[in-house]
Amino acid sequence: MGVRVEAKNGLTVCHVDGEIDINSSPQIKKSFDKLISQKTPKLVINLSKVTYVDSSGLATLVEILKNMKSYGGRMRLACMSSKVKSLFEITKLEKLFEIMVDEESAVATF
């Protein structure tokens, strides 16, 4: 599991790869805590290289979203595989998150 952060068109894009599960969630949360402490205003999380998410991973993404909203930040998820996206549909978390098909549109329309 890894998180790579880049600045793009005045906003922050994070590329996560691997699995977001009970084992990797603490490390992922730590990676995003830094961005949250800096009050990053707009964040796109590119999930194209995420192969698996469990309920701990979903909870971690919810926590990141809640923390960003607490200071008025906004966050988008982009490039989910169909399997990962199906979990957001089943759990209705698609209502909570801004989910974009690709990174380009997520960045361009933010």
Partner: protein, 150 residues
Amino acid sequence: MTRSDQLAYLKNSGSGEVEKKDIKFRSESRVIREASSMILDYLKPFGLDESGAFEIKLCVEEAVRNAIVHGNKSDPARQVKLGYWIEDGVVNIEIEDEGSGFKPELVKDPTKDENLTRNSGRGVYLIKKLMDKVEYIGPGNKVRMTKRIK
């Protein structure tokens, strides 16, 4: 593997009974992945597709995690029992902990608007949605879930 090979694989030394695998684990987080890997390896010869593998992996890991964390209170001395077998194209998985059980009907629906940001009940909900049938047995410390292999 041909169909006849599959049937031969399923039969247990001529007894006519479907072979059931039974394993006991200590309540340690590393066994979550071990359990799902064992079941996916077992199912490999049956042509499990990628989507089915993803769903079974997720449900096994959610159930084992619940058994360790909620059932056995993360006490490594307490065991988690895992049983699995395939019969007539359906995989059966049982996971049992040494806890006092729980009532699944008391788990709040995580998809309701007021619960969307709560982080409890989502694992149980995913299991219910992704498996074909889910039963909680006895006081609720044992779950049996089944899914047809495509």
